[in-house]
């Protein structure tokens, strides 16, 4: 049953050192505010799970919070590489990072399997792809009817998932719209789920009947954080801050510049700052 909590409490109650955690969002609705709160609280030894680890995972890895990364595309989308991640993988700085690497199809199927309570996902994939050689969590089974070889990966079941969504209603049901990505699956696959939202509305009675709504009994905690997805975006609220993604490439290129940026923009910042960061990006409406 969803409880409405301040973000600091929602994070401290649901994330612990050593957890496997998914801050999900497929370009859209990335839970940056929750990730920054986790960084301020200084968790260690995390297994970070995400299809598209981008800036927030680059930041967590750069801060030495991650023991392992499970992922399928580790880039700053449209910009380039993740330089803190590279530093960890190539140089072990600030610490060595174990990686479990998949394709998008595999990760999407693995989240789906987690949401569906399955032990594994079965799909047609990895044919001729070398990841199957280096990742022991990629196996193959035979279709019992055709004999076709199919790929299998373990279901993803994070200890906790964080998502950002547009709206909660007063009972704690959560609405996700636009590029819905993998958020519903991440929430349903996880043992605990925390949602940050742009706003709270009375109910969803006036909404279309087939929208992506997570019932309140699938969510552990909700925090209201307007702008909480910046520099990604919230469909219907504010646009993507593409300039910030371009800027990140320079920030992350240098260890000292990175630490300085983190001090100023994360450690000395507050949850409330997100609202102001999206002010100029607001969608006319």
């Amino acid at each position: 049953m969803a409880r409405f909590l301040p973000l600091s409490q929602a994070v401290s109650e649901n994330l612990h050192d050593g957890d496997s955690v998914a801050f999900e969002g497929f370009t859209h609705l990335i839970p940056t505010a929750a990730a920054h709160e986790a960084i301020r609280q200084g968790f260690r030894d995390l297994t970070l799970i995400r299809m598209t680890p981008d800036v927030v995972y680059d930041q967590m890895i750069g801060m030495g919070m991650a023991r392992k990364l499970v992922f399928s595309y580790a880039g700053n989308p449209g910009v380039g590489l993740l330089r803190r991640l590279r530093d960890a993988v190539e140089n072990g700085f600030p610490n060595a990072l174990e990686i479990e690497e998949h394709s998008h199809a595999a990760m999407a199927n693995a989240y789906e399997a987690g949401a569906a309570g399955m032990p594994c996902a079965v799909f047609r994939g990895y044919r001729g792809a070398e990841l199957a050689r280096v990742n022991p969590n990629i196996r193959f089974i035979e279709c019992p009817f055709t004999g076709e070889e199919l790929a299998a990966v373990p279901a993803l079941r994070p200890d906790v998932a964080f998502i950002h969504a547009q709206k909660a209603d007063r009972r704690g049901n959560v609405l996700v719209e636009g590029i819905v990505g993998i958020q519903k699956e991440a929430v349903l696959a996880a043992r605990r789920a925390v949602a940050t939202v742009e706003e709270v509305v009375e109910d969803f009675d006036d909404q279309h009947p087939n929208l992506t709504i997570l019932p309140h009994w699938t969510i552990t905690a909700i925090s209201v954080v307007p702008g909480g997805a910046h520099p990604s975006y919230a469909h219907g609220y504010y646009a993507r801050d593409n300039a910030a993604y371009l800027e990140w490439d320079k920030v992350a290129a240098d260890r000292d510049v990175f630490r300085d940026w983190m001090d100023r923009n994360v450690f000395q910042a507050r949850v409330e700052d997100f609202e102001q960061r999206v002010e100029k990006l607001r969608v006319a409406g």
Binding site: F26, T27, H28, M51, T52, F71, S72, Y73, A74, G75, P77, G78, V79, L81, L82, L85, R86, V89, E90, E101, S103, H104, A105, A108, N109, Y111, E112, F123, R124, G125, Y126, R127, G128, A129, E130, L131, V134, E148, E149, G178, I179, V180, G181, I182, K184, E185, T212, Y233, H235, A239, R240, D241, N242, A243, Y245, L246, K280, L281
Partner: protein
């Protein structure tokens, strides 16, 4: 160069766009593929269906997305579906006529590496990884690849098989049980390449205006084969060029603006 007023990169994008038709259902990779697909849509193929892995089906962005999940893609799409559905119903379901990929490294058989330079366990450069590419390469009915030529990108032997092209050539795909056609077209900034029907080795079938064979060889890490008859790629038309440049200008302004 012949002095024509277009860049090799513009020629590449426009040549790639011409390979797409109105009835194609394209799974669009970000970067060069995205530009080519949208130029096709804005010129000769207004009804082409563009799909991005973020779940947007039938999108028609006014500016090129920076990421595969920009708001513009959803705003203009026919519908936007969850990512598991995208990979299961739309890609794995065999509905994609053309998967359009870029590449960090490619070999003569269209195998692609976007994972690591060097050894996987101790990479010299850790690249982003495959993302959607491994299954785009095997589940799309055919695959087009586009990249700017360089000896760093076009290599004798790729460091990692992120996405399977024609493997070691010949019938290697079929031997692995892969029933799709694989890479059927490579468009670079210098030439258009097609796989040899037997060996599946990429072969230059058309040189862009002003490009000489030596230029293609100098920027390619393997010994280049040329088709018996090599065409000259028609230069960009006024219309193609102005549409491409307008799109790029709109895009640059949009990505910089806060």
């Amino acid at each position: 160069m012949t002095g024509a007023d277009f860049t090799p990169n513009e020629m590449m994008t426009i040549a790639a766009s011409r390979a797409l038709g109105n009835d194609d259902v394209c799974f669009v990779g970000i970067g060069a593929p995205s530009a080519a697909c949208n130029i096709a849509r804005l010129t000769h193929a207004p009804d082409i269906t563009l799909i991005y892995e973020s779940g947007t089906i039938g999108t028609a962005p006014d500016v090129l997305p920076l990421s595969i999940g920009d708001g513009e893609l959803c705003d203009t799409a026919l519908t936007t579906v969850p990512v598991p559905e995208m990979f299961r119903y739309w890609l794995q379901g065999g509905r994609i006529t053309i998967g359009f990929l870029g590449a960090a490294q490619i070999d003569r058989f269209g195998n692609i590496n976007t994972t690591v330079v060097g050894e996987y366990e101790h990479p010299r450069v850790r690249l982003p990884g495959g993302g959607g590419a491994p299954e785009i390469a095997s589940s799309s009915q055919e695959v087009y690849v586009t990249l700017a030529q360089s000896r760093r990108a076009m290599v004798e032997k790729i460091d990692f098989f992120t996405s399977f092209g024609h493997g070691e050539g010949g019938d290697h795909r079929q031997r692995l049980g892969i029933d799709t056609r694989g890479p059927t077209l490579l468009i670079t900034d210098l030439a258009i390449w097609r796989p040899d029907p037997q060996t599946k080795e990429f072969t230059v079938v058309s040189l862009h205006p002003g490009v000489r064979r030596e230029m293609v060889q100098e920027t390619c890490g393997w010994t280049v084969r040329f088709a018996e008859r090599v065409e000259e790629t028609p230069p960009p038309t006024e219309q193609e060029l102005s549409i491409l440049r307008d799109l790029k200008a709109r895009t640059e302004a949009a990505h910089k603006g806060r």
